[in-house]
Assembly symmetry: C2
Homo-oligomer: 290 residues x 2
Amino acid sequence: MDIDWDDLKTILAVVREGTLGRAAQGLGVNYTTVARRITRAEEALGQKLFERLTEGYRPTDIGLLAARHAEQMEQHQNALMRQLQGRDETLRGPLVITAPQILLNLHLVHVIDRFCTLHPEVDLSVNSANDLVDLGRRRADLAIRVSANPGDALKGLRLCDQHTAAFASPEIARRIAQAPEAATGWIVYDQTKGVPEAALARNRRAFVRARFDDMIAMIGAAQAGLGVVRMPMFIGRGTPGLVQVPVMEPSPYAPIWAVAHADVWPGAKVSAFRALLRAYFREHRRVFAA
Amino acid sequence: MDIDWDDLKTILAVVREGTLGRAAQGLGVNYTTVARRITRAEEALGQKLFERLTEGYRPTDIGLLAARHAEQMEQHQNALMRQLQGRDETLRGPLVITAPQILLNLHLVHVIDRFCTLHPEVDLSVNSANDLVDLGRRRADLAIRVSANPGDALKGLRLCDQHTAAFASPEIARRIAQAPEAATGWIVYDQTKGVPEAALARNRRAFVRARFDDMIAMIGAAQAGLGVVRMPMFIGRGTPGLVQVPVMEPSPYAPIWAVAHADVWPGAKVSAFRALLRAYFREHRRVFAA
DNA sequence: GTCCATGCATGCGTTTTCGCACGCATGATA
DNA sequence: TATCATGCGTGCGAAAACGCATGCATGGAC
């Protein structure tokens, strides 16, 4: 009465994903293999771990219990892999970084370019993601993030402070220059309350023209002349077809950090990338501040 | 860059055992398989995990690091298996018990006999061991132990209190009866200091004739007339060729416990065995006390 | 009602893994 | 020095695991 550790890993994947297919995808095997492993595990334990439904595999109590423990095992496996990586002193092999899309487009591509030239043996993967990537579970080795602090269990290097300001198309900028008191239409981010306080302070008639849930789309909207957008300085300055408009005082914004799990932090590849980041942002820091 | 969980298990086994062969034995596979898995893991990590020496495999720092984490994973796997067992309500499948050799021979065999009759579908394994068996690591499901308390993380049922007394062959008993003041030779357990205090209180001339490190051998020595042996009442009474000799006051001894890991305790098979133990020892408790 | 997408079960041929037998190296022993 | 025990490496045939293709069941869209 014992169970294969890989079968436990498989059970965890199926509990997480809900179907054989998605679990198989995550595990990098065919879904029939997943089905067979589950069956084998059930036979080994003499217990049903899942109910077979048409919409997928639903875990039984016992399946959930097994998954909980498998999760613990996964954490230890992750810890091991992180520590191995942290003591890896070679500049070879895989390295995964993640960063916000816009920051990548406008700046990090240059850092990446240089890194690939300096360290051609590193297999660099770039994960352009706007949501937070789980560094503890090794979805990435190094993350470039815009936030107030690195977060718990993570180490961080503060790369650069930022300001935001208002940007719009040249056409709109001209109209504002001609009639500063006229009502100005804003494009705002979905989650924000409305027109920035700093803008209302200068023009009480500022109003929300539209709400977007995606920053890239907002930039496009600004370029197309839909309205004024508040955005980090580096975006406005780095995007063609946008000019800064003096409808609000530039205000401080969350700084840019390079963060990694403390285990991974000392690794050669992560250190090397960090060094290039530091140099780049030191050189270009004026682009990010008012 | 990821590692197979079963390979981690294999690494742990090799670190523990030192050679491929012994590790393979513990894992229940051929040693060539172990060698292959180690090689595969090293290739996956790009790091050497062991040095190949003629006397076996010696782990590198990285190998030890991996083994440490694998050990953590093993603990979680054990916890899972225990919990599954604890909620198993069937009276089928494997059950492993461990008990001191002598207790098995003289009494537990009857409990086992009855258990096998009542629950023929249980595959009962009996581990006759005098050293403590690790219940946390599932070397046994239920242990019958002679000790003051069950121990941490374990649940216990106090089966019976015990006394010890002095026993010897009839020949020696006759001599003692004839000359109670004569010097009496004792056989004592290796670790004890010498003749029991309670014996010296009655006869100052009692002396150690020999020291043994094994209780079975001491019983044989007593039967053969080598000397007086202090032993639990149930052994002296249950062994042919031995009689109690009044050279010491019977003294309290550690009680007999049925112990199991708290996770396993509620399992049907463990509960059933425990019930029989309780009944048996209640019925025969006078054999164990003075 | 038909069509399609999703997801599982099954059979078959292939790939991978495994166990076994043999050979080699090393160290202890007589 | 000859012999034996222990332990590892390697090649080959067997066994197990795997991927793929096909078929079935269910539920939603038109």
